[in-house]
Symmetry: C2
Subunit: 382 residues, 2 copies
Amino acid sequence: MRDVYILGGGMIPFGKFFQTTSAEDMGKRAALEAIRSAGVPRGELQACYCGCALAKLNVGQRILGAIGLSAIPTFNHENACGSGAAAFRDAWVGIGAGLYDLALVVGVEHMTKEIFGLIQAADGDFLFMDMGLPTPAIFSFIAHRHMEQFGTTPEQIAKVSVKNHRHGVHNPYAQYRKECSVQDVLGSRMVADPLTLLQCCPIGDGAAALVLGSEEAVKRHSAKAVRVLASVFEGGRYKNAAADGTTIEVTARASRKAYEAAGVGPEDLDVLEVHDCFSIHELTIYEDVGLCPKGEGGRLLDEGATSIGGRVPVNPSGGLLCKGHPIGATGVAQILEIFWQLRGEAGKRQVEKARVGMAHNAGGVLTISPEPAVCGITILAS
Amino acid sequence: MRDVYILGGGMIPFGKFFQTTSAEDMGKRAALEAIRSAGVPRGELQACYCGCALAKLNVGQRILGAIGLSAIPTFNHENACGSGAAAFRDAWVGIGAGLYDLALVVGVEHMTKEIFGLIQAADGDFLFMDMGLPTPAIFSFIAHRHMEQFGTTPEQIAKVSVKNHRHGVHNPYAQYRKECSVQDVLGSRMVADPLTLLQCCPIGDGAAALVLGSEEAVKRHSAKAVRVLASVFEGGRYKNAAADGTTIEVTARASRKAYEAAGVGPEDLDVLEVHDCFSIHELTIYEDVGLCPKGEGGRLLDEGATSIGGRVPVNPSGGLLCKGHPIGATGVAQILEIFWQLRGEAGKRQVEKARVGMAHNAGGVLTISPEPAVCGITILAS
C-alpha cells in the first residue's frame, strides 16, 4: 500500500433543513467546496466513495450527477453512524492499492427527512423492539457503570457537553453555537438517566467531503496535503464488546492497530475528533484510545487537558454534541476538522502547533448487542 | 494487486418469502453454505462485504452476528441493482491489496418486505416522479429503438425469456422453474410495450455468498479455487450513456477494461451470466460486451448460440428473468453461478468444458438519467 494524502475538503454548516434541501444538494455543495479547496480539475477524479445511512438508493451517483461528474465508479457505504469512516477507508484502500490517483469522499445525511430509519441503527429488532432499549438507554448503562466503578460524577459527564459547546461557538459549521453551563446541561430534560437532553447529540442534516490522492497527485497539483498515517476500520466482538461494561473493545482494538500502523502513540496526538454521540461516550473514548488510564476520563476532562489550550484538545469542532451528527456526514466531517487543524485553518478554534491528529468514528451498538459494531480510526499528520 | 480466488459459494433458492424470513436469516444460510463449501474455518475470515439495496441499517453486521462471527469489519455496499458486484469488487480490492487473506461476500435482499424502496432505484425524483418513467418504460424505449434501427422483432426479444426459463428449469435455486413458449411470453400482460410481464424480472427475496481468498489461503486450505481474472466496476456517463439509444456505454466500457485486465476477449468466454432485468437488456448486453456486432443480438439468440449447448451460453442459471432478482443478491449469485459452471458443479444446467466465464451486473438507470449508473464485470477462469 502506497501513501495516501488529503488534498482538500469542504462541508456545509450542519442544521435542520427539513424539505428545504436534499441529500444531492448538500452533497453537491460539500463536494464542490472540497474539489475547489484541493485545486484539482474535477475531471481528474477517478472514483467516488459516499457514506450515507438513511438516504434512498444511489445517493453517491446522484451527487456526481449534480456536479456534472460521470464515467467514474461510485461506492455507497452504509455502516450506520460509522458510514463516513467506511467510505473514507474504502477510498484510502483504492488509492493505496494503486487503483486510483484521485478520489472524492462524500458523507451526507438528510436526517430530518429520513429520521424514522434511525432507530434501526440500534439493532431495531433485538434491542429496540424486543428489549425496549433505544440508543440513549444503552449509553445510560455505560454511564451508570462508570459512575459506580470509578466514582465518576454526573457533573463530570455533563462537562463533556459544556466543553464541546464552548468549542463549537467558534465553528461556523456547527449546528449550535451557544455556550452552556453545567447547570444548563444537568437542568435540561432527562432522556436516560444521567443523560439529559444536552448530553445527547441532536438530529441534523449535513454533508462533508474530502479529496484524497496519491503522492504523485499531490506533486502534480502542488497541493498543501495532509498525510494519512493510518486508516483502520474494525468490527466489534459478538456479545462481548464491553467485558467490563465501560470499555468499548472495538475502539481500543482499532486505536491500537492505528497507532501501530502510524508509528505513533496516544502521547503524540495533538488534537482529536471523537464520536461523542452521548457525553459519557467521550469519556470512555479517552480511556479506550489511551489518552488516560481506565476510569480517569472524568479527571482528564476536569483538568482541562481536552479543552482547546489544554494538553490534548478533543472535539475542537464542537463534536457530535454541538456541531451535530448527520449520520453519514459525521465520519467525513471529523477527518475534515483534523485536516483543517493540521493545516492551521481552523480559525478561532485552532489548536496551536497541531501536527498529528486522530478522528474516531463508530457505528452500530457498541456494547450489548449480538450485532457486531464498527469503529473507524484515522490518524493524519501535517 | 495480487491474484484473488473464489474458494467457495452458497445461496438459498430465490422466492417470495414475505414475513417468513429476514435478511439476516437468508444471509446467514447463504454465508454458512459458502463457508462450508470453501472448507475454511469461519474464524479465519477477516472481513465481510455485504451488498444490499433496501434493508435496514447494518445488514452485514447482523448477518455476521447471526453466524457468530465477530471482531471483523463489515462494509455494507449499496449500488441499487449493482450492489452485489460492488461488494464483490471491494472484497477483491481488499484481498488484492494484501489487507486480508480471506473475506466473505454476501448479497441479500428482502424485497417482499422492502419493495417500496425499489422505485427509488430508477432515480425516483427525476425519472419516476417528474417524468413518469419507471424502469420498464426506460427499457421499452431501448426495445423500440432496437426494433426500429436493426429490425429486431418482438418475437426475438421475447425469446430471451423463453431461453432463460428453459435454462432455469434445471436450477434448484431459481424462483420459477417452468418453461414458457414465445406465445406464452407475448401473451402475458403488457407492462411497457413491447415488454410483457414475462419479459420483466420478478420481485423476489434471496441471498448468495462467496468466500474470496489470496493464493496463500487457497494453498493453505487445499481449496479447489477459481481465479478472478478481472473485477471491474465502472460508472456511467452523465446524460450520455446511450448516444445511439441502444448502447449501454458503461457496459461496453467496463467489459473492454475487464478484457484488457483479464487478457482474454469475448471469443474466449465459455459462459456468461448477464443482467437480463428485462428481455431486451440481454440482447443489448450481447452487443455491448462483444459477443456479436451491434444490432445482431436478436440474430445471435435466434441461432441458438446463447443457449446451453450453443457456442456461448448466456444465463444458464435462468438469469434475472427466471432465477429472480433480489436486488443485492443478484450480483453475487451471478458470480456464484459462473464459479459453479467453471468447477463443473452446475448439474443439469452445466455448460460443457466451461473454462472462462463472465458475470455482468448493472445498477441505476442505464440510459437517460442525469444520475450516472454503475456496471460491474467479473471474469473468472478455472
